[in-house]
Amino acid sequence: MRRIILAVLVGAVVVLAALAPKPDDVGEPLAGGDVVRPGIGSPTDAAIWYCPWAQSNATRDSFLAVASIDPALAAFTFPVSIPGEDADRAALDVVGPGASGIDLSDIARRGDSPFFVEFDDGPAAVSVTVSGQAVLSADACVVSGPEVWHFSGGSTMAGETLKLRVFNPFPETAKVTVTAVSEIGVEALADLRTVSVSPRSWRDFDFETLLRQRQTLIVSVSAEEGLVVPAMSFTSGEAGDGDWWSGVGLSSEWDVPIASAEDLDGDLVVFNPGLAPVEVRVILFTAEAAVIDAGSLTVDANTPARFTLPSGLGPAAARIESTGPITAGVVARGGAGTAIASAIPEPSREWLVPGLRSVGLERGTLWILNAGEESVSVSVTAFTGGELIAEKIVIDGSSLVRIPVLGNDAIGYLVESSDVISVGWSISGPTGSAISAASPFSDG
């Protein structure tokens, strides 16, 4: 009897144990929220801007412009490529919304000085305008980047120089691979495979010596280890003007708010890095609200293509549509100099244009492209040293508007629209011309 009681008792507890509910599974770590990478690898963080191209020497200087919607402190860091040397630092207070700027020579005067800017609030944007003897170049700095950076618009014909700068602002040695494609096909650049770029330093690659006599040269940069920010600089001759521009990724639709100007004839350069040919169509928008179907062509796999826009077209913008992902840019040459910029992959409602100004004999112009069919209401606010000067305009559908910067002390602009638009800016003066895309942002 005792045995039976024991067996029943044990059996009952065993059943209880067997029926004990399993605790809920612990979910995957961090499954509840998104992990947001800061900096260059982040698609959303706009707090650090990387500017690989800035120079200050006896013949030229750089104007470093910042703009911010909210009051912010912009902290500049200029790494020195000598190991162990402390970086140069500077800071600017930006009364948001507003813009500010500083000459590089006020901080460091040692030739090339790539840098990055950290904002403690924003949205914000940064641009660099290099001006001096026979040069005027400008572009917006980058806040995020693709895995593979593509640079369209370069060439290495006689007298031209094309320099790729790979800036590594991070504390880890980066390893990058540089590839190039030209009108003669894929270029052999075995020496540029897995090239090390020291932390907080940069390396320059001169393509006029690496690949001579290329009319259309597309350079691509990818980081195999670490993170880098590349930039390209082009000079059309020893005493000629040039420009610097940032790389872009891939898209099947590109806007080029400045495709040609009064003294600049533009070439649109596209590159199809894919494995299949793509159909590319180009639509031009002029200041007179004319829409010109510039035609279409098939771009083979891994091949660049160049659309030469009609000479004397005057101010015009372009939209490039493709049946596959491509990269695009514009090269504008003429009596006013040479200007190059990457195209804009995605229109936006809000744009910041730091550094757009008219100073001395240089004149700045704001370019606004409404490629949509509907007209949009656009508010253009000029950031001056002390006040905001706002202007509201209506831009018809499929039209381009240019707003020249008058001598009102403006050092940046804010452009807000009721629908998506594309914004670019240009500066021209006696020493040359420069064009750049503005910096889109989203204010929440």
């Binding site: 005792r2 044990v10 144990a17 961090l30 929220g33």
Partner: protein, 889 residues
């Protein structure tokens, strides 16, 4: 019959001199003057000590035989004056260190077994006949020596001159003991005698060996209740002080020697005589404590030869111990694997004790919260082993596993399960699937506690001794057992209680007081856990940590079930109850080990597994016992007994994999060496912030949106860092930083991590969070490592001076660097006003100290220190009471 020609009284004061003169005896101030006081007719000098009582024919026997054998020194057989049938000495051998060795057991009876005249190394000073001319030639007795060592010294010097030293048992002298000479004086005399007698070559190795032998004796003797270390130290100090005199005496002793050291070696015993005596005493005690146990079996083998090897109990016990040694071989052969909660003890046992006794809890970002008692117990053992923490944990682990095997055998024996079955059950207990389950959790303390649990139960359920003295001893022993269980794994404390209660409810025989004894033991053990027990969150003990859900391997579970049923059916009444008791423990243990769904945590899992181990052992024990008694049964019971035997055997086999890995179920060491990169520079480069629970993870972690993380000191954190205290200001701040990081709003994480003293970030498993650190401007990824790791570019240290200098860890504190030029230091530990010495102020969540000493540390909590000391004192009292058993018997 010889009679005294003249009585000479040696030594004493003026009063002694008057008495001697009044009795017509000569008085001389010391022995040196004695030979001259005698006439030329005196050929021999007979030395007797004041406590010697020679029999009337003692001198006659000495003189007769010394002349016959042409010896120069002769000694008598010395008997206990109180019990004349007991031998005290029949001549002595010595060891190479001049320590005398009688070769007699305590209270050995005189059965004339040694009654033969023989050469010996020395004779005792209680009765010694010396040729007068030899005595004069030797320069007499060394008066600086204690009596016994002086006698050995005289004999050794005589031997060097070629003289024979013999013992003449026909001469009997009674001696009134005990000897009043301090032990250390004898030790000192032995060393001096050795230095005087031997040649330089012999001394070259004999002196270091003497030092080592004394050291070994000092370590071992406390286990026998003796503390010779002080005498050992005093003896060497005395010899250093007297070295010039010893050298002079040596020159005299070796002048005119006729033989070499080998003549002295002829009558010596090998090794150390003192260690030999101690060994004999240990064997004697073990024999008393383990009358039929494994060790007793071992002793029997020594004493009785191979006959005992045929005893099944001995074979089973030996196999059990061998299995325990095999199961722990990695731990005693190499080291305790550093993995999970199994971490090496702190380097400084003193610092660990201090931290436990109201000091700083260094886990994570630190806390004044009390450490677990395990830290203090290990530190105590470590102290006894001269600070060797690795040996301490190895010793504790091996002892615990063997204790578990033997304890279960002993417990089951009290319930009628024979030794063979008991030891098999012990193996399953200590190495079976539940025990391995405990090992796999890496809770090393629980493995140790498991070894003690059977003793706590056995003490509670065993027959209550007669007499209050012995009962007190029993309660003390039970309390110590419960205390050890609680100290090493507090969550396991209820297991022996539950087992005793279950036995009371189900068992047979007189048992109703067992739960009272167990409860008393458990209650009295609680003060041993002070101060931890007063501050611990006992309510949350069983719900904290990972949720418990043990999933058995179904074939094993089936075998257990079949063995249990077969054991119930195939055993007689008592054993069937033991099997049922085991089954109930297994079932209750399984319930606790699977209680995660009800909120049961890690301690619930451990307690459940321990109960299962105990129950499983009972099932196996009864199964084998049933099989052994199978011949007494018939029919269904006989069949069930056979089935039970098969089940039991399978369960023993199931323990083999557990024993095979040599780590008692613990995973392999994946921490040692993994983080060496963080300390390769040899100086502090900050702590490691570790994410994940993958390989290389350790101890308790905090949770950040499901991702485990913790901070620890590289390269391998010590055991006091295993368990994190409740989050404090710094921990909240660190979590805040992680929140900033995850939303991408922080780009200079290194700068902020440096505030926490964090110099490194490591991911033990892949996580999307890693990408956040890759994008930081001041964290450098270490790509060559097999896991995600980042070095902080910003200088980080737990204690950082305002001049940028790093204060390195020094025991429980942080030492000032030589280059210190600052005024204040920031202590990146949770703020507490007791950091100092010097002015303290809170700096955010951390402390800012203006040091006025060269070490910054936590001042300590005096109340907790007092409690810890009280706990230690209580343990001492319990130990003394428990050790009084022999005396009471």
């Amino acid at each position: 019959m010889y009679g005294p020609a003249r009585v000479i009284v040696v030594g004493g004061d003026e009063q002694v001199r008057h008495v001697a003169t009044a009795r017509d005896a000569l008085w001389r101030p010391d022995l040196r003057a004695v030979p001259d006081a005698l006439g030329p007719e005196a050929e021999y000098l007979w030395f007797l000590r004041s406590r010697s009582r020679p029999r009337s024919d003692a001198l006659g026997a000495l003189v007769g035989d010394i002349e016959r054998t042409e010896a120069s020194i002769a000694g008598s057989k010395i008997l206990d004056a109180g019990e004349p049938e007991h031998l005290l000495a029949v001549g002595v051998a010595t060891d190479v260190f001049s320590a005398p060795y009688t070769g007699l057991q305590d209270d050995e009876l005189d059965q004339e077994q040694y009654d033969v005249i023989r050469d010996v190394a020395a004779v005792t000073g209680a009765s010694m006949l010396v040729r007068r001319d030899l005595y004069r030639g030797l320069g007499g007795v060394d008066r600086t020596l204690a009596p016994n060592s002086a006698a050995v010294d005289l004999c050794q010097r005589a031997r060097l001159r070629g003289a024979r030293v013999i013992v003449i048992p026909a001469s009997e002298v009674l001696y009134e003991g005990p000897d009043p000479t301090p032990e250390w004086r004898e030790r000192a005399g032995e060393i001096r005698s050795m230095i005087k007698a031997y040649g330089p070559i012999t001394l070259l190795w004999a002196i270091p060996l003497a030092l080592l032998a004394g050291l070994a004796e000092s370590i071992m003797a406390p286990f026998l209740g003796k503390w010779p270390i002080f005498g050992w130290v005093a003896a060497w100090v005395w010899n250093i002080l007297y070295l010039p005199a010893t050298i002079a005496a040596r020159l005299q002793a070796r002048r005119g020697r006729a033989v070499g050291d080998e003549e002295l070696f002829r009558y010596q015993v090998g090794g150390s005589a003192r260690l030999r005596v101690m060994y004999d005493r240990i064997l004697e005690r073990v024999r008393e404590r383990f009358p039929e146990g494994v060790l007793a079996g071992f002793i029997d083998v020594v004493e009785s030869g191979q006959q005992v090897l045929r005893r099944p109990s001995f074979v089973a016990a030996t196999l059990g111990v061998v299995a325990a040694l095999v199961a722990t071989r990695v731990i005693w052969g190499e080291a305790l694997p550093a993995v999970g909660y199994s971490l090496p003890p702190p380097e400084s046992a003193g610092a660990a004790l201090s931290a436990y006794a109201g000091g700083w809890n260094p886990a994570g970002l630190g806390s004044p919260e009390v450490l677990r008692p395990e830290i203090a117990v290990v530190a105590l053992v470590q102290s006894a082993l001269f600070g060797n923490g690795g040996v301490a944990v190895a010793l504790i682990t091996v002892a615990a596993v063997i204790a578990g095997v033997v304890g279960v055998a002993r417990l089951l024996r009290s319930w009628g399960v024979a030794s063979v079955a008991g030891y098999a059950a012990g193996v399953v207990y200590a190495m079976g699937p539940p025990a391995m389950g405990i090992g796999s959790t890496t809770h090393w303390g629980a493995i140790v506690a498991l070894g003690v649990i059977p003793w706590a139960i056995a003490g509670s359920v065993a027959a209550w001794p007669r007499g209050w003295g012995l009962r007190l001893v029993r309660i003390a022993a039970i309390t110590i057992a419960f205390g050890l269980v609680g100290a090493f794994s507090p969550g396991l404390l209820p297991v022996p209680l539950l087992a005793v209660f279950a036995w009371t409810a189900l068992g047979t025989g007189p048992r109703w007081w067992a739960p009272v004894r167990a409860a008393a033991g458990a209650l009295l053990a609680l003060p041993l856990l002070m101060p931890w027990v007063l501050y611990a969150d006992l309510g949350g003990l069983y719900t904290s940590g990972q949720l418990a859900f043990w999933e058995p391997w179904l074939p094993t579970a089936a075998i257990v079930g079949v063995s249990l049923l077969a054991g119930l059916l195939g055993s007689d009444g008592n054993r069937a109850v033991v099997a049922g008791w085991g089954g109930l423990l297994v079932a209750l243990g399984a319930l606790a080990a699977r209680s995660g769904g009800y909120g049961g945590g890690e301690e619930a899992l451990l307690a459940g597994l321990a109960a299962m181990a105990l129950g499983l052992a009972a099932i196996v024990g009864t199964a084998f016992e049933a099989a052994a008694r199978r011949g007494e049964y018939s029919g269904l019971r006989r069949l069930a007994a056979g089935l039970a035997a098969i089940g039991g055997a399978l369960l023993v086999v199931a323990a083999v994999p557990g024993a095979a890995d040599g780590r008692v179920g613990m995973p392999s060491d994946d921490v040692t060496g993994a983080y060496d990169f963080a300390s390769a520079s040899g100086f502090s480069t900050g702590q490691i912030l570790l994410f994940g629970t993958g390989e290389g993870a350790m101890g308790e972690t905090r949770d950040f949106e499901g991702l485990a993380y913790r901070v620890f000191t590289p390269p391998v954190p010590a055991s006091w860092e295993a368990r994190l205290a409740e989050p404090r200001l710094g921990d909240d701040a660190l979590e805040g930083l992680l929140e900033d990081l995850i939303i991408g709003s922080e780009r200079r994480a290194g700068e902020r991590l440096a505030d926490f003293g964090i110099g490194w970030v490591v991911f033990s498993e892949e996580s999307p969070f890693e990408s956040v650190f890759e994008s930081q401007l001041d964290l450098i990824p270490l790509r060559s490592l097999p896991f995600g790791a980042f070095r902080n570019e910003v200088a980080a240290a737990v204690v950082l001076g305002d001049d940028g200098s790093v204060w390195e860890r020094d025991g429980g504190g942080f030492a000032m660097p030589d280059s210190w030029e600052g005024a204040t230091v920031r202590v990146a530990q949770n703020a507490d006003f007791r950091w100092g010495p010097g002015e303290w102020e809170q700096a955010g969540w951390a402390s800012l100290v203006t040091p006025d000493a060269d070490v910054v540390g936590f001042g300590g909590h005096s109340g907790r220190r007092t409690m810890a000391l009280a706990a230690g004192a209580w343990f001492g009292v319990l130990l003394l009471v428990a050790m009084a058993k022999r005396w009471l018997r």
